[in-house]
């Protein structure tokens, strides 16, 4: 594939989303394109198979993309899709069929693959992307992560020579991420499949192990391309683009090993630390005994909560007797594998879903969430959707933020005051009269969160707060949530980002197949990697490194690079 100085504008006259980008991809390469939100990664990817400009109305592409010697401008997208499979960022956009197996089969069926081979292919892909047992389910009724697996499987199933994936693992559980990336690597090595994948920098640790080449983009331009060591350890480029270093790379640099000699994978980091330790062992280090915070009053009490969705022969059991208590002012991270029931649980707390068993208790700020009127409940608890577009109704930012306040009958002065406060949380004030549809994902997410924060609920549930955001926006969201918790609000963040859960949450609840598997402070939970693996959760990379270094006396509950640096420094 040869990309020759392409320039892309969404509409004629607009600023360029991609500026003068040129590169060549060789057969069998595994290329990671990384850059913050709005850096032009997705536009670049869409132009590789002709979706831009052929399927995006009014878009304009200059320059040339040649694939297997053919200019893609001259080939129909459906035709070129036989060679280049494109996985879209939003899986809902890509799902077309009513059962998972039909969706996995749709691509190869369009290409006329014989039935026996088609069945084999669907079976192989369902296993590879962990969809076994779900083949007869409606893909649109699955969890966000499972839908992402269907979208990837739906393209893998026709075994294109080139597969291009737009942020493919952002919604997957940690082990799901590794599995998908391993399958891609296996196809890459075994069949010479060329892999081109984008990431906004949040999953950099996951990709470092697999990519052959990394390209960093910023503001539509290519900043640097090269082998992963050269690029991911280049602190200047990473900083200039607004990305972050992998945790182990940051550790190495802080331990004095910088440049390409710094580690980007766990294996390499293990060796670096071993060298630094030079045969010495840590003395008297052990998992920290968690000091319990002074217990505040319970604000959420859930007992024996069950929920079965209609569908298939016996219904689909999403929750099977969930029990826990949350106290005022806690910052909870709710984690678990895709489809473990996290979002279902959250929707019960806000009264959108009702338990399907009679003896369930769902008490929120003293109210029975199963019976209480919605208007009363939402003054105490509210929910931010994973996809901001699901909860945006107005044209402009300010209108959107004030909508809920007006609906609740708040006085005009108070509406104005609280809207202004909410606009200031994420610096949206200069954008208050902007059309939301013209904002990037990060600003839309900020708008959605601010519109709920304006209602000042005592408990805020936020579903995958960092999906689709880059490092800078993610940190801004998490810091704001932490501030809320410090001010006495209760925050429940549903997330697959273990680094952020470890860094910000006071307590982690792990759901597994509709029940609570683990519940405790991050150090306690992440130290139990064997138990977590059951729920397809892997601790943060730095914790994994400490656990590998157990023979050298490292405790299994290290959660940050700072802690690790301090431990190595002790010797």
């Amino acid at each position: 594939m040869n990309v020759d100085r392409i320039v892309y504008r969404r509409h004629a006259g607009d600023l360029e989303a991609v500026k003068d980008v040129h590169f060549t991809v060789r057969k069998g390469e595994y290329l990671l394109i990384t850059g913050p939100v709005g850096s032009g990664k997705s536009s670049l990817l869409y132009s590789l198979n002709g979706a831009i400009p052929q399927l995006i109305p009014n878009s304009k592409l200059e320059g040339e993309v040649d694939v297997f010697g053919r200019n893609i401008a001259d080939v129909d997208v459906a035709e070129i899709s036989k060679s280049i499979g494109l996985v879209l960022e939003d899986p809902d956009t890509q799902i077309t069929q009513m059962t998972v197996e039909d969706d996995l089969a749709f691509g190869p069926a369009n290409m006329g693959l014989p039935p026996e081979k088609l069945r084999e292919r669907v079976e192989y892909v369902a296993k590879s992307v962990r969809l076994e047992g779900l083949q007869k389910r409606n893909p649109r009724s699955l969890s966000g992560g499972q839908k992402q697996a269907v979208a990837i499987g739906g393209v893998l199933s026709f075994m294109p020579q080139i597969i291009a994936l737009d942020e493919p693992i952002s919604m997957l559980d940690p082990i799901g991420k590794t599995q998908i990336l391993s399958v891609l690597k296996q196809l890459n090595k075994q069949y010479g499949m060329t892999v081109i994948v984008t990431d906004s920098g949040m999953e950099v640790e996951s990709f470092a192990d697999y990519a052959d080449r990394v390209m960093v983009m910023s503001k539509g331009r290519m900043l640097k391309t090269g082998n992963p060591h050269d690029v991911l350890t280049d602190t200047e480029v990473i900083k200039a683009s607004g990305l972050r270093l992998p945790q182990v790379t940051e550790l190495c640099i802080r331990l004095g090993t910088s440049g390409p000699a710094a580690a980007i994978t766990l294996d390499e980091a293990e060796k670096v630390v071993e060298r630094k330790m030079n045969g010495r062992k840590l003395q008297n280090s052990h998992a920290e005994l968690f000091e319990k915070k002074a217990e505040s009053e319970p604000i959420v009490v859930v007992k024996n909560l069950c929920h079965t969705y209609p569908g298939l022969e016996k219904g689909i059991e999403a929750l099977r007797g969930v029990t826990f208590t949350i106290r005022k002012g806690e910052f909870i991270a709710l984690i678990g594998q895709n489809g473990s029931g996290k979002s279902t649980l959250a929707l019960h707390l806000v009264g959108i879903l009702k338990p399907t068993n009679r003896d369930a208790v769902v008490e929120v700020a003293g109210l029975n969430a199963a019976k209480c009127r919605s208007k009363e409940l939402i003054r105490r608890i509210n929910y931010v959707y994973q996809n901001p577009d699901d909860q945006i109704f107005c044209e402009k930012v300010k209108e959107e933020i004030s909508l809920g306040l007006k609906a609740q009958g708040v006085t005009p002065d108070e509406v104005e005051k609280r809207t202004t406060q909410a606009l200031n949380i994420f610096g949206l004030e200069p954008l208050k009269d902007e059309y939301i549809v013209h904002l990037d994902r990060g600003r839309r997410t900020y708008t959605a969160i601010s519109s709920i924060m304006a209602l000042e609920p005592d408990i805020l549930i936020i579903d995958e707060p960092t999906t689709g955001l880059d490092e800078r926006d993610s940190l801004a969201v998490m810091r704001e949530l932490q501030r809320l918790a410090r001010e006495g609000k209760t925050v429940i963040a549903i997330t697959h980002n273990m680094n952020l859960a470890a860094a910000y949450a006071d307590r982690i609840i792990v759901l597994h197949e509709g029940t609570v598997l683990l519940d405790g402070p991050p150090k306690e939970v992440f130290a139990q990697s064997d138990v977590l693996a059951k729920s397809y959760i892997a601790p943060p990379q730095i914790t994994q490194l400490a656990q590998r270094l157990k023979p050298l006396g490292f405790p299994p509950d290290v959660l940050s690079v700072d802690e690790m640096v301090e431990l190595v420094g002790r010797t």
């Binding site: 198979n49 979706a51 399927l55 129909d76 997208v77 459906a78 035709e79 899709s81 036989k82 499979g85 879209l88 956009t93 890509q94 799902i95 077309t96 069929q97 009513m98 059962t99 197996e101 039909d102 089969a105 749709f106 691509g107 190869p108 069926a109 369009n110 006329g112 693959l113 039935p115 069945r119 669907v122 389910r137 409606n138 649109r140 393209v155 026709f158 209609p310 569908g311 298939l312 022969e313 929707l347 959108i352 919605s374 208007k375 939402i378 929910y383 577009d389 699901d390 909860q391 945006i392 109704f393 107005c394 044209e395 909508l403 809920g404 609906a407 549809v437 519109s451 709920i452 209602l455």
Partner: protein, 274 residues
């Protein structure tokens, strides 16, 4: 709602074409008849097909029930103006035009009154609606769109027609999911349908605004999702081979014969007329 759900039932196993013929015939017959005595057995038949045979849950059928019930209100308006004796060919016209309740004399439109014949007509219209709605529900709930596409592709149906089928099966389920998500999200902001009709309309406008935005891009999204999966680029293959079984053929023959008999009765013996 309004989309296929996998189950192992007789109707799910049935080939899409005989199924379409069976449900089409019962719907057409119900449309031809006006006597509730004829339409009620047809409705009972489709309810049996929908509930114990296809096992469609009530939650799935909810929009159909709402739509059917709304039709009573809409058609009730027409029913109060049916008073001419000339409408009736089977039942005694004097009895059918018996006035049960006088409503009002409305300029231009005429006298609005409830007659026995008007009630029969209204009942038949509502029953027709429900027969149609149940038939559509059974088809959507029990027919995997990929089976239908496979059949059409095997008959060399054009790519454009296949796309219409593909888009049709996807459009309404996606729309319903959007609507439900939007309503839930609005509920969380305290936006609820008011009992005051003017306020209710303004609330509905807030639901429709994001819905319209999404619908306008839905066609583009479906085109994109189909194109990047190679739709229309070659001969369509299949995961499951669907063939007409002996039962399918027998059902089709019986249904067509039954349809012919009933149509003859309608034409020659006034079956189903009022």
């Amino acid at each position: 709602m309004l989309e296929y759900v996998y189950k192992d039932t007789l109707m799910h196993r049935m080939h899409p074409i005989p199924k379409m013929i069976l449900l089409g015939v019962v719907t057409l017959l119900a449309q031809f008849y006006f006597d509730p005595v004829f339409i009620i057995p047809i409705l009972v038949f489709v309810i049996i097909l929908a509930k114990p045979i296809s096992r469609i849950p009530n939650t799935w059928l909810l929009p159909m029930y709402v739509f059917g019930t709304m039709s009573v209100l809409e058609r009730g308006y027409n029913a109060v103006f049916i008073s001419s004796a000339g409408y009736y060919r089977v039942y005694p016209s004097e009895w059918m035009i018996t006035v049960l309740l006088y409503i009002a004399d409305i300029p231009v439109l005429g006298v609005a009154k409830v007659t026995i014949g008007g009630l029969f007509w209204l009942a038949s219209i509502v029953l027709k609606y429900f027969v149609g709605l149940f038939s559509v529900s059974i088809f959507l709930y029990t027919t995997d769109p990929s089976d239908l596409m496979q059949y059409l592709a095997s008959k060399k149906v054009s790519k454009n027609v296949l796309f219409i089928v593909f888009a049709g099966f996807n459009f309404f389920p996606i729309l319903l999911r959007y609507t439900r998500t939007i309503l839930n999200a609005q509920q969380l902001r305290g936006v609820e349908l008011s009992k005051n009709p003017i306020k209710a309309v303004s609330t509905l406008a807030q639901v429709f605004h994001p819905l319209v935005i999404r619908v306008t891009v839905l066609a583009d999204i479906l085109t994109l999702s189909a194109s990047i999966r190679g739709f229309g680029s070659g001969q369509y293959s299949y995961l499951r081979e669907i063939k007409l079984s002996r039962t399918d053929k027998a059902v089709t023959a019986v249904v067509i014969a039954f349809f012919a008999v009933m149509l003859t009765g309608l034409a020659l013996l006034n079956w189903g007329a009022l």
